[in-house]
């Protein structure tokens, strides 16, 4: 019973935070509300006994990704955001109808389905008997899920390289051309062509 009450509290706070994120005109307020939403979702993870994920959620989402967003907001001209914050004119009303319809569809499907759960008998004690959430998760992660894990690391590497190439001051295409051929003039020609 206590779990249900806690779930209702955290879930409603998360939804309120998310609604705040998409309605604030000040981007910094939106980011702070995003942290609030993520922490509440982490609490919901705790209630579904995904303890390790809850910690990762706070560390990676509420920590690392938010710092990334905050840095980019600092790079850009903040004054301009207020002028920019109008919504799309006609599109807004279409979405105001379509988003609730999508929500209603998912809720109808989810509520209508009967889940034949095999895990109804699995209690927190059963997982604790195997050594706890983190231990079971680690064993799964480094045994049968090893290939997806390595692929995730590769995706992170590609993302890192891509972010560096894109965000560099110099034009990305010309830089790659110069590095490959060592031809400074051809690279400059690419820059002028693009401008």
């Amino acid at each position: 019973m206590a779990e249900k009450i806690l779930f209702i509290i955290f879930a409603s706070l998360a939804v309120l935070g998310a609604l705040g994120v998409i309605t604030r005109t000040n981007i910094v307020h939106g980011l702070l509300l995003l942290v609030f939403t993520f922490v509440n979702v982490a609490a919901v993870f705790l209630l579904t006994q995904a303890y390790f994920l809850a910690v990762i959620q706070v560390l990676v989402y509420a920590g690392a990704i938010l710092v990334l967003f905050a840095f980019v907001v600092m790079f850009l001209n903040l004054k301009e955001f207020h002028q920019l914050e109008q919504l799309h004119g006609t599109q807004k009303w279409a979405v105001l109808v379509l988003a609730p319809i999508l929500l209603a569809e998912i809720v109808v499907v989810v509520a209508g389905a009967t889940w034949t759960s095999v895990g109804a008998g699995i209690t927190p004690d059963a997982i604790a008997a195997q050594g706890g959430n983190v231990r079971v998760l680690g064993i799964t992660l480094f045994n049968e899920m090893l290939l997806p894990f390595e692929m995730a690391s590769l995706i992170l590497l590609v993302g890192m390289v891509g972010a560096i190439v894109l965000a560099k001051k110099e034009d990305g295409a010309s830089m790659a051309l110069r590095d490959w051929t060592g031809d400074e003039e051809a690279a400059q020609a690419v820059v002028e062509q693009e401008v």
Binding site: A11, V15, A18, V60, F69, F81, E85, A126, M145, A152
Partner: protein, 99 residues
């Protein structure tokens, strides 16, 4: 687990609303993050429902978080590039392909 799935649906719809209505590219990316979080919530809920002792779903949720991190990095680098070229982060101004 149905309440968790409903929460995930609500968060997803909220994120979609944000993506489709806002014009600021950073708010767009933030809304995408909310949608990815809703997906992770779904993975965790179904993992709890069907394989609570195996946790394959939770491992995939960890992968989802990692992919969201790299997506945020690339997206923010794109936003910086767009800002340098167009002088704003208004997604309506980026219409080179339409003209």
């Amino acid at each position: 687990m149905t309440p968790v799935l409903v929460l995930s649906a609500v968060l997803f719809a909220t994120g979609m609303f944000g993506v489709l209505t806002r014009r600021n590219a950073i708010t767009l990316l933030v809304s995408v993050e909310i949608m990815m979080n809703a997906g992770n919530l779904n993975l965790v809920a179904f993992s709890r429902l069907y394989q609570p002792e195996l946790m394959t779903g939770q491992v995939f949720a960890i992968m989802g978080i990692g992919i969201a991190a790299s997506e945020a990095a690339v997206g923010l680098a794109l936003i910086l590039t767009i800002y340098r070229r167009y002088g704003s982060t208004d997604v309506d101004r980026v219409r080179l392909l339409r003209e």
